[in-house]
């Protein structure tokens, strides 16, 4: 556990050294621009727009950070041969993967909390209300990012950062198109293709389970069981991906 913690903290420090927190400034400036300049043209829809923009930006910027850093993390260590300094010590490869994942997850968590606070402040300045309901989106967005991070770990353990990034983007796209894939799969008559499509649907990550932005912004009812199941889904999916990633890295021979 101490070893994982050490790797995680080291990964976090390394990432912070890349001045990644500047994205918080970008986010804040973006929200201020939206609230100041778009407000007058929104014809009474500004409360929705400011919430939508904040949630979408925090999700999108988080995704970009995950794609940029996550795809290079393990590959970079292998290429720069810094991984040798770690694997020669009494430490399991699975601990390296887990440590690195947790380090990056911690970074994403810090950034997303920063986004959340800035978002709340912007809404408070605009409307004088503290919109705590938005908090429900935070763990779900984090899990969405962790799932993609898991995919990046799987692919960066066995290929190049470019391929890992491409695969990460593909799974992100497919994950959000999952409800349409479901409709397609279940509208087919029985047969091999139908079974295949249903199989594909259940294997791909359904990121729409973790997307409650619209019901949150429009004050629609959100059910506790949905949130609990969605959180479990995200956690289990991430664990599976980390498991696959450790298998791949353990099978890999470093020469």
């Amino acid at each position: 556990m101490t070893r994982i913690k050490a790797i995680a903290l080291n990964t976090l420090k390394e990432s912070l050294r890349q001045r990644i927190l500047i994205v918080l400034v970008v986010f804040a400036v973006g929200l201020i621009i939206v609230s100041l300049f778009i407000g007058p043209f929104a014809l009474g829809e500004m409360p929705h727009i400011i919430r939508d923009t904040g949630l979408a930006a925090s999700s999108f910027i988080g995704m970009v950070i995950v794609l940029v850093i996550g795809s290079r993390l393990i590959y970079h260590d292998i290429k720069e041969r810094t991984i040798y300094t770690v694997i020669t010590r009494p430490i399991r490869r699975s601990e390296i993967v887990l440590g690195k994942f947790l380090g990056l997850a911690l970074l994403v968590l810090l950034i997303e909390i920063g986004f959340f606070v800035i978002h709340l402040l912007t809404i408070y300045i605009q409307e004088g209300v503290v919109e705590l309901r938005l908090f429900i989106v935070l763990p779900l967005t984090l899990l969405e990012l962790f799932v993609i991070l898991g995919f990046l770990f799987v692919f960066s353990s066995s290929s190049t950062p470019v391929l890992a990034t491409i695969m990460g983007i593909i799974f992100y796209l497919v994950g959000h198109a999952a409800p349409d894939i479901r409709t397609f799969a279940f509208s087919m008559s029985t047969g091999l293709l139908s079974v295949l499509m249903k199989g594909i649907y259940y294997i791909i990550p359904n990121l729409e389970y973790l997307n409650l932005k619209l019901p949150i912004v429009y004050g629609l009812p959100i059910y506790a069981d949905h949130i609990v199941f969605a959180l479990c889904y995200g956690i289990v999916y991430t664990v599976i991906l980390l498991f696959v990633s450790t298998i791949l890295i353990e099978r890999r021979e470093f020469t």
Binding site: I38, F41, A42, L43, G44, E45, H48, I49, D52, T53, L55, A56, S59, F60, Y172, L173, H176, A177, D180, L207, E208, N211, K213, L214, V217, Y218, L220
Partner: protein, 286 residues
């Protein structure tokens, strides 16, 4: 170093110049084309990648821009329904789009059929929202003068959760045969004016309120003109003459700030109305 800086500045100047020229190159045609290739709502929904709500906001801003541009220029709103359809497919909970959209489709675009279609879509996706059937009834009552349908939808709105007494009151108006009264129409527009938070909706309501007030004034003035005619067996020269002979206390001013006048023995408004559909509906009803 200095040389490079100058070259960079020149290049930026050229870039800005090209952008300016491109912006002014057949601007209106580009805009039409842009909307023609605007994909369907379902297509955008698939491509929105979890940002449907934000995309709907962007389409909303584009809709406002589209409305504003055409209101200031040709007053043709060919693509208005298309934009609203996309918007409400991306976010079927965007109640404001149904409400304002249906009013603008009826009042400005003169397409009550599209307005009805839009609200029906809204009612399908938001079955618990009272304001949608209320607007459906409102459009039938005020613009289309179809009081039977209006009453059905006012009653439907009244049964929805959290509905105020407004739809029930309007259903009662129709029951007690107050349909077609200018006073009742005025009250309905006043209700809408007072309950709406949206400035465009309020502006449309204000226009109709002024129009109805003006019509009520004219009805009142023509009654007085008849009294004058019966008494003096001639047309009054102007409205001041009615005041002179004690038939009228004072000449009311038009809600738009102008003055009523006498034309061919009748009191008329000097204001040029822009409420074509309203007039057509009234004429059709006669």
């Amino acid at each position: 170093m200095f040389k490079r800086l100058i070259i960079t500045v020149i290049l930026v100047g050229i870039l800005v110049n090209i952008a300016y020229r491109l912006d002014h190159l057949a601007l209106s045609q580009e805009r039409e084309e842009e909307l023609m290739y605007f994909p369907s709502g379902y297509g955008l929904r698939v491509l929105s990648l979890g940002f449907r709500s934000l995309l709907a906001d962007i389409v909303w801003l584009q809709f406002i821009q589209y409305y504003g541009e055409h209101r200031l220029t040709d007053r043709k709103y060919t693509h208005m329904y298309h934009i609203l359809d996309i918007l409400t497919t991306l976010n079927p909970r965007f109640i404001r789009a149904y409400l304002l959209g249906s009013l603008l489709l009826t009042h400005d675009a003169q397409h009550p059929d599209q307005a009805k279609k839009l609200i029906r879509k809204g009612m399908y996706h938001n079955p618990d929202t009272w304001v949608l059937p209320f607007y459906y009834g409102f459009i039938h009552f005020v613009f289309l003068r179809d009081f039977t349908t209006a009453q059905v939808y006012f009653k439907l709105a009244a049964r929805k959760p959290y509905a105020p007494d407004l739809p029930q009151r309007w259903a009662a108006f129709i029951t007690y045969k107050k349909i077609g009264d200018l006073e009742s129409a005025l009250e309905l527009w006043l209700d809408l004016y007072n309950s709406s938070q949206n400035e465009v909706e309020r502006e449309i309501a204000r226009l109709y309120i002024m129009d109805i007030k003006s019509r009520l004034d004219i009805e009142y003035l023509n009654d007085k003109v008849e009294v004058f005619k019966n008494k003096f067996d001639r047309d009054p020269m102007d409205l001041e003459e009615l005041v002179q002979y004690g038939i009228l206390d004072s000449v009311p001013r038009e809600p738009h700030g102008e003055n009523y006048k006498i034309e061919k023995g009748k009191a008329v408004s000097t204001y040029k109305r822009d409420l074509l559909l309203w007039q057509k509906a009234r004429e059709g009803n006669k």
